[in-house]
């Protein structure tokens, strides 16, 4: 017991909590794009994390193989993922917009394998590393936080805040909120709903690309990297109440802390187990999500 208390008040535990916070920032950014698409179009992109993977590969390829500077590579990655999001809607979802949800799930699930397969053919199955190291920030004598993680956290925070302001303040943002509440009436307001769906899909794709920019600095790229982030992102959205961006945001931090705390007391894999057990219990207690809006 004393040992447990010791470890709880140890300096390393504080470092763990801080790392959990940093991880939460990235998870929040990943969930925000998926949530936006679900909230507006009412479709779950099972292949969302694979669009992140596509973005990571493009950044890696431009920077590593072609020697393009990292910043333009990232901008290209964001734009390309936006295009992939646009195409996903244009080619697949638009045709299934009135179909049963299961058909939409199967279609985006098919896209997941398509993206994985395409990445394998083009890039092979090797793990590729950008080899960027920005070093660590010494918060105190014993606490070190990786600069990459800190910068990722700051960028995630900025983007989430910017998206929030965009949705709450701008005409277009208001239209995006409104269309999720009554699509047909939006056309009476002079809105071409098909175009607005395409635009939302492009924004969602670009957010995935942005997530890719931050992940490519910390993780190896490989065709199956999506499997490391897809399920967590999806579960965070469900826990926050699908389509509820603020709920997803908070859920991201709950999840990331559970993962890192679990990893602190045992292996990191146990962190995931802890987080998923929490999720399953939550689904029994509040199946509509922690912060589901009242309907």
């Amino acid at each position: 017991m004393a040992e447990f208390l010791d470890s709880l008040f140890s300096i390393f535990f504080i470092e763990t909590l801080m790392n959990g916070l940093l991880l939460g920032g990235i998870l929040a950014l990943l969930s925000v794009g998926l949530n936006l698409i679900f909230g507006v179009i009412d479709v779950v992109w099972i292949c969302y994390a694979e669009i992140i993977m596509v973005g990571m590969y493009l950044i890696f390829y431009l920077n590593n193989d072609l020697g393009v500077h990292i910043i333009p590579s990232m901008i290209a990655g964001i734009l390309f993922s936006g295009l992939v999001g646009w195409l996903t809607h244009k080619i697949v979802i638009a045709r299934l917009i009135d179909a049963a949800p299961i058909n939409q799930l199967i279609a985006t699930g098919g896209l997941l394998f398509f993206f994985q397969g395409a990445a394998m053919i083009v890039f092979g199955i090797e793990f590729r590393n950008m080899g960027v190291s920005l070093g660590s920030l010494a918060v105190s004598e014993d606490i070190y936080l990786s600069w990459t993680r800190l910068i990722s956290f700051a960028i995630s925070g900025l983007i989430v805040v910017a998206l929030y302001l965009f949705l709450s303040r701008s005409y277009l943002g208001a239209a995006i909120r409104a269309i999720s509440q009554d699509k047909e009436i939006m056309s009476l307001m002079g809105v071409d709903t098909k175009k607005l769906y395409l635009l939302t899909s492009a924004i969602g794709g670009a957010l995935a690309g942005l997530g890719g920019c931050l992940l490519v600095l910390q993780y190896d790229v490989h065709p199956f990297i999506g499997l490391s982030f897809g399920p967590i992102t999806f579960i965070i959205c469900v826990m926050g109440g699908l389509g509820n961006m603020v709920g997803g945001f908070i859920a991201a931090f709950i999840f990331s802390e559970l993962i890192t705390i679990g990893g602190y007391f045992a292996e990191i894999e146990w962190g995931y187990v802890l987080a998923f057990v929490f999720f399953i219990i939550m689904m029994f207690i509040r199946p509509e999500g922690l912060f589901a809006r009242k309907s």
Binding site: Y171, A174, A175, R177, A178, Q181, D182, E184, I185, M186, S187, L188, M189, G190, V191, D192, T193, R293
Partner: protein, 248 residues
């Protein structure tokens, strides 16, 4: 000083012409050969029992429903195949059945959506002032979520939202449905006021007695077909109408 007495000459300028309209849902035909005209400045009602096809007619006009055959003309332009999001830009605003506000958005955001189209945005503040002068209650409630307001307030918001685009013609689908009698009276007073502003109105109503006091003319639709049409006084005087709709 002599003063001229201005004679009111009613010049009929066609605004909306529906000709030989057929509309259906799949193989079910809801409207048969409907002809309806609304002239500029007029208020016209469409009345009829439940399921007659009144809502279908309104939805066809504003482009929410595809038309099987026939034409819809707005100020001489054929709009039969024009999509809904372009119809509103031609000056046709639709207050839909059951109000259909955006429930989780504030009153003001709902109104803002009414002037969403780029050509309406420049006049947003002017129109907002106008709507608030018409409905001071909406100004008091501007930050309230639309879904949390009373039925009467929601109806005002729905009408206000349609007025935000400064339309030439306002389509209203049963604005008094589900409201308490006092509020129903307020809605009809309001329609009178909107009419006196020079706006053209096409209104679907079940409160036949009250609506005939407000409109100039009315059409009666039964089972998808035009049954009768005439001025309000003609219809009020018709024994058929009295029996079927006025309970006399």
């Amino acid at each position: 000083m002599k003063y001229l007495k201005l004679q009111k000459v009613k010049v009929k300028i066609a605004m909306l012409n529906v000709t030989n309209l057929n509309v259906g849902y799949g193989s079910f035909q809801a409207l048969f050969n409907i002809d309806i005209d609304v002239n500029a400045g007029e208020a016209v009602a469409v009345i009829g029992p439940n399921g007659a096809g009144k809502t279908t007619l309104m939805r066809a006009i504003s482009g929410l429903m595809p038309v099987k055959s026939g034409t819809i003309n707005m100020e001489g332009t054929d709009v039969t195949k024009t999509p809904a999001h372009d119809i509103v830009k031609l000056g046709i605003a639709h207050v839909p059945e059951h109000r259909r506000l955006f429930p989780r958005m504030s009153v003001e955001d709902n109104l803002r959506m009414g002037s969403y189209a780029p050509q309406f945005r420049a006049n947003y503040h002017k129109r907002l002032d106008f709507v608030y002068s018409l409905f001071p209650r909406m100004q008091e409630r501007r930050n309230q979520l639309a879904g949390t307001m009373s039925g009467g307030e929601q109806q005002m918001c729905a009408i206000g939202r349609a007025l935000m685009s400064d339309p030439k013609i306002l389509l209203m689908d049963e604005p008094s449905a589900g409201l308490a009698p006092v509020i129903v009276q307020q809605v009809f007073d309001l329609i009178n006021k909107i009419k006196s502003e020079g706006l053209t109105v096409l209104i679907v109503e079940q409160n036949v007695k009250q609506v005939l006091k407000v409109v100039d003319r009315a059409y009666i639709i039964e089972a998808g077909s035009l049954k009768m049409g005439g001025t309000s006084s003609e219809l009020l005087g018709s024994s058929e109408v009295q029996k079927a709709y006025l309970g006399m």
